[in-house]
Amino acid sequence: MESLQVLVKAGIYILMAAGSLAAIGAVFFPNLFYAGLSLAGVLICVAGIYLSAGADFLAMVQILIYVGAVMTLIIYAIMLTNIEEIKVSHLGIKQILLSILAVSGFAVLTASAILSIDWRPLSGQNRLEVHELGAALMSRYIFPFEVLGILLFAVLIGAIVIARKDKV
């Protein structure tokens, strides 16, 4: 079976590489539609990562909610505000350079922090069954679940009220 494991590991690394590339694409693509699609690519790679980390339910939910709903929202927004034509998609070169500098600084700092710690004792996963998740959701985390429900309900109404043309 270890040959399969090699394959899976390779797969995961490929997914990570693809994810990073898609993320960079999402940020730097001048055409916003491509940026949206690369975001979808990132989401799917992240779903793959969730699978590799043992969270199957989460992977499927990720694809269902993110790629299904959020991407549709984003693409709707893109189409409705016909952003396509506007050529300049990024801010001034000064702002770009400064932000890249700042972010790379941040990345170096955090990376050094990550690499300097020995994670071995913490590593190791256990694949969770969906019913375990369901049980926990309904027992221990019932309160956040209900609040989430109410929040989504409010968002539903709010989004509609904000977005629709006011009937004047």
Binding site: L91, Q95, L98, S99, A102, V103, G105, F106, L109, T110, S112, A113
Partner: protein
């Protein structure tokens, strides 16, 4: 023996009440009767002052104080002080004042501003009397300023005449320059002695002997006198002040106000005495003014101008006396001068009243037409020239004896005395004797209200000299100084010299103007340009000082505008500059602020990680 008496406060109050009555009810109610209110007020103040003069004769001194401003622990208090000097002066002032008010009822009869004139005169009388009886420098200064105001108002009485308007402004401003000096002097005295009362300063004068501020205070006080008594640099306003009505010139510019300067020196004498170099300055200014005044008077063609310059010269004599240290001599001359100079001015007034002109060239041969004016004028002229029995001789002789020590001063004063006699009789001969001038034709004698006071003053000029003369044993000087030896021993020789000078002056005048007809024209031709030339140079000196002040003022303005304001504006501008530079940070772009936030986060992270 010091006593108090409430009545003294009333002396200045009577003219003040008269002033208020004239101001508020003059136009509507009083109209013609305005003069009676003023006359009543001055007569009342004269008779109120009389008992106190008498009191002083018996050696009493009246002095009282009441706190006026309570400042911190000390307090400025006002009050009156009647000592021999004040007693004599109050007597002279009220007497001459009353006579002049009576005189001016006739002189000002048909004038439109009748009540206004008498209102100002009453105000002036109350100010002068306050000044005389004041017991401290501050009250003295207040009265001094009110007198300045009154002189402004009275000189500019016919304000519709541009010359008068200009003259009153000039008078006021020039005296102001002197007043500033006086005020600074008073402040320095206050810093020196902590009090402004005459007696206290007299007692404490010794304590501040070494202090460098003392000569400064003395000099500054003297500036006040220069301004008010028209001494050398600041004398320019007096000749122009002749624009005012003649009674004004008589009252203010002959008898009282100009004398106030000399009275100030007398009051401040303890301080002056302690600073020899200031005394020297006073002496030389006095003599200089005396000589210059006399010389310019020679060339003057206008009666009142001649008398104005003669006043300047006589004041020069008094100031010189003060400079020599002979306070009593100076004061004695002040008293006699008040009488005969008032007489001369009123004489000139009645001549102007009669003929309608002031120009000597248009006058002449008035003796037969205006007999009483002519005779009184002659008495005045004789008095001022220093002919023995009259007042002028004794007081001038006193001054000459005082200056005997310093022979340069003595010679200058003698020459001045000679010139005084000369120009007085030049004036007399040109107006009253000789052939008829253009305007002499229909001249007529003034009414009794004018000639009356003339005769009274003539009498005073005759008698005023005696109290100070040897016949009465120098009584006035002793009385003034309160000691046995008030004056110098009269030296027969000096007396002879002074009478000789007076007689020579008169003789020369007669020679030039009566005896040889042609000679008058040549004399005039020579004297007039010389006199006016000197006058012009004197004026240029005064205006030089003016421009000096102007320069100082403009520099101060420049400094104030550019440095003081500059600094203030600079701070405002700096704040604005800083604000506008910081404002740029607020770009309104969300990503900028996010970038800043992220950078700060990174810094915290870095610090946290170290």
């Amino acid at each position: 023996m010091v006593t108090q008496s409430g009545w003294i406060y009333l002396i200045p109050c009577y003219p003040l009440v008269a002033f208020l009555l004239n101001v508020f009810f003059g136009a509507k109610v009083l109209k013609e009767k305005a003069a009676w209110v003023s006359i009543a007020a001055s007569v009342l103040s004269f008779f109120t002052a009389l008992p106190f003069t008498a009191g002083c004769l018996q050696g009493k001194i009246y002095s009282d104080r009441f706190p006026w401003i309570a400042a911190g622990n000390g307090s400025l208090d006002f009050g009156y002080l009647i000592d021999p000097m004040a007693a004599v002066l109050i007597f002279v002032v009220t007497l001459v004042g009353t006579l002049i008010v009576v005189y001016s009822t006739g002189y000002m009869r048909s004038d439109a501003g009748y009540h206004r004139f008498f209102a100002y005169v009453s105000l002036f009388m109350s100010a002068m009397t306050t000044l005389v009886i004041a017991n401290n420098f501050l009250l003295f200064f207040i009265a001094w300023e009110i007198m300045g105001l009154c002189s402004y108002l009275l000189i500019g009485f016919w304000f519709e005449k541009p010359a008068a308007a200009k003259a009153c402004k000039k008078a006021f401003l020039v005296t102001r320059v002197g007043d500033i000096g006086l005020f600074l002097g008073i402040l320095t005295l206050f810093t020196l002695f902590g009090t402004l009362h005459f007696e206290d300063i007299k007692d404490m004068a010794q304590t501040a002997a070494g202090n460098p501020l003392l000569p400064a205070a003395a000099f500054l006080v003297f500036c006040g006198t220069i301004g008010k008594s028209a001494q050398f640099p600041l004398h320019v306003w007096l000749p122009d002040a002749m624009e005012g009505p003649t009674p004004v010139s008589a009252l203010i510019h002959a008898a009282t106000m100009v004398a106030a300067g000399v009275y100030l020196l007398a009051r401040a004498f303890p301080v002056l005495a302690l600073s020899p170099d200031v005394m020297k300055i006073i002496l030389y200014t006095g003599t200089g003014t005396a000589f210059v005044g006399a010389f310019i008077a020679l060339g003057a063609t206008d009666i009142k101008k001649v008398l104005a310059y003669s006043t300047i010269s006589q004041l020069g004599f008094m100031v010189a006396a003060m400079g020599l240290g002979a306070v009593n001599a100076g004061f004695f001359h002040l008293v006699t001068h008040a009488f005969f100079k008032a007489l001369l001015f009123m004489g000139a007034g009645s001549v102007i009243h009669g003929t309608g002109t002031q120009d000597l060239r248009e006058l002449g041969g008035l003796f037969p037409k205006m007999k009483s004016t002519a005779w009184t004028f002659l008495i005045g002229a004789l008095a001022i020239s220093g002919i023995p029995p009259l007042a002028g001789f004794w007081s001038k002789d006193e001054i000459l004896t005082a200056s005997h020590g310093n022979n340069f001063i003595f010679t200058v004063l003698c020459v001045s005395a000679f010139i005084t006699a000369f120009y007085m009789f030049r004036l007399f001969f040109l107006t009253f004797l000789g052939k008829e001038g253009a305007k002499s034709g229909h001249a007529h004698e003034s009414p009794l209200s004018i000639t009356g006071p003339l005769w009274v003053l003539a009498g005073c000029s005759l008698l005023a000299g005696l109290p100070g003369s040897p016949f009465m044993g120098m009584w006035l000087q002793n009385f003034l100084s309160g000691t046995r030896h008030g004056a110098h021993e009269p030296q027969a020789a000096l007396m002879m010299i002074s009478t000789a000078l007076g007689a020579a002056g008169i003789a020369f005048a007669a020679l030039f103007y009566l005896a040889v007809p042609g000679l008058a024209k040549t004399a005039e031709a020579v004297l007039r340009p010389a006199g006016s030339g000197l006058e012009k140079s004197m004026n240029s000196v005064a205006s030089g000082i003016g421009t000096l002040f102007m320069k100082a003022g403009s520099f101060q303005n420049f400094f104030d505008k550019y440095f003081v304001d500059g600094i203030v504006n600079l701070s405002g501008y700096a704040a604005q500059l800083a604000a506008s530079s910081i404002r740029r940070i607020q770009t309104g772009l969300v990503q900028h602020s996010l970038l800043v936030a992220f950078a700060v986060l990174m810094v915290f992270l870095y610090c946290g990680m170290k």
